[in-house]
């Protein structure tokens, strides 16, 4: 048995919920920070609170993702994405099911390749979110210790980290959904 494999589905659901909170909170945070460019700090208390929510959501999402990672690595990546035989078998089965259902079957590709490119994009996402998580924690510290309202010279770093935080959260969410779409709505090819 792989570590936490029996809990993979509930972990995935909590991971998705935490990621949804993360995407919403980081987008909200970045949009509120834009007012600082014009020296308007009236939303600073709420923005500071959002910096805390973002950091908590990022760390939670990151930890849950890491707990799921052993199951992904074996059951999804090794047994499916990097396994052309499994993909070919699923493509055949789907084509047969299309005919049974009576919908025009998707023509089977002449050469079934592996889904390794998807796995590699997932690898890229892992590195982006690791840096985004670190940026989120540092942004939280800056929001308490050197906020642009109190120290305007920190504004560019603050805004930059908010952009990194938001961009990496979106990247993680989109790549995560694309990865999960294989073997579901997207089919194997």
């Amino acid at each position: 048995m792989i570590f936490l494999e029996s809990l993979a589905r509930p972990l995935l659901i909590f991971h998705a919920i935490a990621a949804a909170v993360l995407v919403g909170a980081t987008t909200h945070h970045l949009l509120w920070c834009r007012h600082y460019l014009w020296g308007r700090y009236n939303r600073a208390p709420a923005e500071r609170r959002f910096a805390g929510i973002c950091a908590l959501a990022f760390v939670t999402t990151f930890v849950l993702g890491n707990l799921l990672y052993p199951t992904y690595k074996v059951r999804v990546r090794a047994e499916y994405f990097d396994n052309p035989v499994a993909i070919a078998a699923e493509a055949r089965m789907r084509a047969e099911q299309h005919q049974l259902v009576g919908v025009a079957p998707t023509p089977a590709p002449s050469v079934v390749t592996s889904l390794s490119p998807i796995a590699r994009i997932f690898d890229i996402k892992e590195h982006w979110v690791a840096l985004g998580c670190a940026a989120s924690v540092i942004l939280f510290i800056l929001s308490r210790r050197a906020h642009p309202k109190d120290e305007p010279r920190t504004l560019w770093l603050y805004l930059g980290l908010s952009m990194v935080q938001c961009g990496t959260a979106w990247m993680g969410a989109i790549v995560g959904i694309v990865t999960a779409s294989y073997r579901s709505v997207g089919g194997p090819v």
């Binding site: 792989i2 890491n66 052993p70 590195h127 690791a130 840096l131 670190a134 050197a146 920190t154 770093l157």
Partner: protein, 113 residues
Amino acid sequence: MRARAYYASCAALIGFAITYTLPIYAHLPRTFYDPVARRWFFAANSTPIPMGYVGQIVWGIAGALIAAGATMMIVSRRSSTEGPSERGAALGAAWTLTAIAIVIGYFTWNNWP
């Protein structure tokens, strides 16, 4: 205090970015977890299934803590409310954001399908 927090934050992120990348770039040993055999081991490289990601994150956190600690010791404690200088703040922001951009670019380039 604000200057120390600011420079330590910059150093922590730069330290994280560099030491997170270092074991991959320089093939340094790190902790791997083999999910099939359910065991941890320490190595520079491994077969595809064992996961080196956790070891890489440990490298990054260690680098961030060391860099932030060293910066806090170096930066003066003379004024408790003084912020970073204009030049220092700009350089700190530029170095930090550039380090993040380079590391993101490095991993994107090396893993691009």
